[in-house]
């Protein structure tokens, strides 16, 4: 039986050895433990005793050559029956035949054990893994939108945060991790596609059981109305709510998106602007008369805003091109009238939408708008609330402004502001001067969709409606 002798490791941290001198030549008999070759390393030079008795069959490495430890250097033909191998001799090096020296495996190899040693109990982790391509595990196919409770319970901090920041409903995200776990990447992928990706951080999206609505209508924010008091922040940190001069205020996800959308809107649509002055004296008086009863009956405050929205909706019906959007193929005249209301919530800007606003009375609009504004400010607005708008109104007057030049929202053709009511001397009935409550209404328009003529006609129509006091119960 032929036994291959390999280069032993003579000393700690030694990785190679040089054959200094062969003490036997092929054909010579060798006794077990008899020195048959001299090996030198940079630490020691030593004679190596043979592990078996036999005849030197072949010299593989010449005198003077240096090879890594574990390299075959000679072959000995064993004489007599194969004996069980004894433990290695003196030098502390393993010179068992046909054995890679265990202390210096190339990284990645599993060192082999001496043949006579009791194999260690099987350890699945230490067994060399066959190389297999890495495949992301498919998430559990829940069959529907809902993830089972076990999956939702095992949501990691990163997933929770990313879902919150990107307004993703975790019940609808397909998990690609172990056992169907929702991974951070799953959330990010959902955010990149989802409709609600556009809007504010700081919205605590409660897990909803409804599917998010299909049409992707990116909504864009407009100039804020009625800003809230600044949110509490750690003292000393420069934030959007409490900016410190001379510092850099880091951008939240929401503000990043707001900035993006603003730029997108301005660069896409050629903005034009026009305005009308409206005499709301009678409307104001009506509101004064009705507000207490309204508050009692509906539990909601009555302002001019729902009257305004109601009039806008009527005007939009009369001028459908104002309820449209420009696309490459043409001007998409929208069927639904979904009016977005710009709301400022902390440092965030949101435009919750009253869908099918034409179905509501003034009272209904007051209640609905109130609900949405409250939701937005308390962080409870959901993805559905923010999508599908076709036209936007902004109560800039609540901030005290009398003139605004709003930025178009999410590709819509028009956005209209209701400015502050200001008592002014105006000319009435020919040449008389009276003090009237005046309200400016400003309109930014996408000049690709409408020209000044239609825009002004729309505004004049709106003005007429606001100046006509409703006689019917609202």
């Amino acid at each position: 039986m032929a036994t291959t002798i390999t280069m032993p490791q003579l000393g700690e941290s030694v990785t190679e050895g040089t054959v200094a001198q062969w003490l036997k030549k092929p054909g010579d008999a060798i006794e077990k433990y008899e020195p048959f070759v001299e090996i030198s390393t940079d630490k020691v030079t030593a004679e190596v005793p043979s592990p078996v008795s036999g005849v030197l069959k072949e010299i593989i490495v010449k005198e003077g050559d240096t090879v890594p430890t574990g390299t075959a250097i000679a072959v000995i033909d064993e004489v007599g029956a194969a004996k069980p191998l004894d433990s290695p001799a003196g030098l502390g090096a393993s010179n068992e035949p046909a054995l890679n020296v265990p202390s210096t495996p190339a990284f990645g190899e599993q060192p082999t054990r001496p043949p006579h040693a009791t194999p260690a109990p099987a350890r699945p982790q230490s067994a060399p893994q066959p190389a297999r391509p890495f495949v992301a595990r498919p998430g559990s196919r829940n069959g529907g939108a809902l993830n089972p409770p076990e999956v939702l319970r095992r949501v990691s901090p990163a997933v929770r945060r990313l879902a919150r920041e990107n307004n993703i409903d975790l019940t609808t995200v397909r998990g690609s991790g172990e056992q169907g776990r929702i991974t951070a990447n799953d959330v990010l992928a959902a955010a990149a596609q989802g409709p609600a990706a556009a809007m504010a951080a700081g919205i605590m999206a409660a897990p909803e059981t409804r599917q998010p609505s299909a049409p992707i209508q990116p909504t864009g924010p407009v100039s804020p109305s009625a800003p809230l008091p600044p949110a509490a922040t750690a003292p000393g940190r420069s934030t959007y709510d409490r900016p410190i001069p001379g510092t850099l205020v880091p951008l939240s996800q929401a503000r990043k998106i707001i900035a993006q959308r603003m730029v997108e809107s301005k660069h896409t649509a050629p903005h034009a602007w026009t305005m009308v002055e409206v005499d709301v004296t009678d409307l104001w008086n009506l509101r004064q008369r009705e507000k207490d009863r309204f508050q009692r009956e509906k539990g909601v405050a009555l302002t001019l805003f729902p009257f305004f929205i109601h009039a806008v909706v009527q005007s939009l019906k009369a001028y459908p091109l104002m309820n449209a959007r420009f696309i490459d193929e043409g001007i998409q005249v929208l069927k639904e009238i979904n009016v977005g209301i710009a709301v400022a919530a902390g440092s965030n800007l949101m435009v919750p939408v009253i869908r099918h606003a034409d179905n509501y009375s003034v009272a209904g609009l007051a209640v609905e708008a109130g609900k949405l504004i409250e939701k937005a400010r308390s962080g409870k607005v959901g993805a559905d609330d923010l999508t599908g708008g076709t036209f936007t109104v902004n109560n800039t007057g609540a901030n005290g402004s009398v003139l605004s030049a709003p930025i178009l929202n999410g590709g819509q053709a028009g956005i209209v502001t209701m400015e502050a009511v200001v008592k002014r001397p105006v000319v009435v009935d020919g040449d008389k001067i009276a003090i009237r409550s005046m309200l400016n209404v400003c309109l930014s328009l996408d000049h690709r969709v409408v020209d000044g003529a239609i825009a002004s006609a729309f505004l004049v129509d709106l003005k007429k409606r606001l100046q006509a006091v409703p006689t019917a119960q609202f």
Partner: protein
């Protein structure tokens, strides 16, 4: 030492130590080396071979066999203006010097409120995988990294060794310089010529990736890189950070990486309980909780006093690259 590219020299780790020490002794007459067998024998790994002949017995001191005073006398030298580099022959022998390292060197500046300082370097080879058994294989960083006033570095690439050893020698405070003995001849690399330092306290991203952060040092960082290569072949990119500096530790690099990959695996040769990985895990959990997409894991040595002399016992202790790769795959798939 072959010249590989203009401006660098190819060296292995032990050559890098030797070269750096040599240049330091030549450059500054205040530096000296003291320890057992560093003179005539030239150190048991031949690191200081020839130094005695060139620099003389006052600068290359063969000390008595007494670890406490190898460090203690060096402390006194450092307090009085010299720049001693004390060597403990094997990290396993360092325990008698614990008092002088932790009780004295680390506290000199603090207890004297800056009146005295202790610019001392303590070098020692550590680590296993060389059939060193119970007394020539231990890792000791966990015993010392707890101590304010000490600095500890453990580079395992030749270029890092030179830069950090130079920095340690220049440092005005006591620095423990840990050299993994298995990497002495195993690891080769390009080392820039000329004098340079690498700041103590800066980790190094050895492999950039985005699916998982792996933090390691010493011998295992090389295996981690190898394992990362295997995953890369399957299209998975793992980030491998070489800690290099145990104390101070580079919090910023670790956190930046974890915020990117959201998963952290620490691989340490030392036993798990109370090791370096425990501190890193706690810090990351504290500071990057909302960035974590998986539990932090530590791949570490078993909780036994040391690795045995028998091959089977040593292999059971040491972590093969295959196990590192398997763990990385598990975490990426999580």
């Amino acid at each position: 030492m072959a010249l590989a590219t203009a401006g660098t020299t190819t060296m292995n780790n032990v050559e890098a130590v030797r070269h750096t020490l040599y240049e330091a002794l030549k450059a500054d007459p205040k530096t000296l080396i003291m320890g057992e067998d560093v003179g005539a024998r030239g150190n048991v790994f031949l690191i200081t071979k020839g130094f005695l002949e060139e620099f003389g017995p006052e600068r290359i001191i063969d000390t008595p066999l007494a670890e406490a005073s190898i460090v203690g006398v060096a402390v006194g030298m450092a307090m009085e203006g010299l720049r001693p580099i004390a060597e403990i022959q094997f990290a396993d022998f360092i325990y008698p010097a614990f008092n002088q390292i932790v009780g004295e060197a680390a506290k000199t500046r603090y207890r004297s409120n800056g009146d005295y300082t202790c610019p001392l370097v303590i070098r020692t080879p550590y680590g296993g995988g060389v059939r060193g058994a119970l007394s020539h294989s231990v890792s000791i960083e966990a015993l010392f990294y707890h101590v304010p006033g000490l600095k500890i570095v453990a580079p395992s690439f030749p270029a890092d060794i030179k830069g950090l050893l130079n920095a340690a020698i220049d440092d005005p405070d006591p620095v423990m310089f840990l050299e993994h003995k298995k990497t002495y001849r195993l690891v080769k690399g390009e080392v820039p010529n000329g004098h340079y330092t690498i700041p103590i306290g800066k980790a190094d991203v050895k492999v950039a990736g985005d699916a998982l952060t792996v933090v390691s040092y010493g011998l295992y960082v090389h295996q981690a890189i190898e394992a990362a290569k295997q995953l890369a072949a399957d299209g998975v990119s793992v980030e491998v950070i070489d800690l290099r500096s145990i104390r101070p530790m580079d919090k910023t690099t670790i956190l930046e990486s974890v915020r990117k990959t959201r998963k952290l695996l620490i691989i340490q040769e030392d036993n798990k309980f109370g090791g370096i990985g425990a501190e890193i895990s706690a810090m990351v959990a504290e500071e990057a909780f909302f960035d974590l997409d998986a539990p932090i894991r530590r791949l570490a040595g078993p909780d036994v006093p040391a690795m045995g002399y028998a091959q089977t016992l040593e292999e059971e202790f040491m972590i093969p690259t295959s196990r590192m790769a398997a763990t990385m795959r598990e975490m990426v798939a999580f």
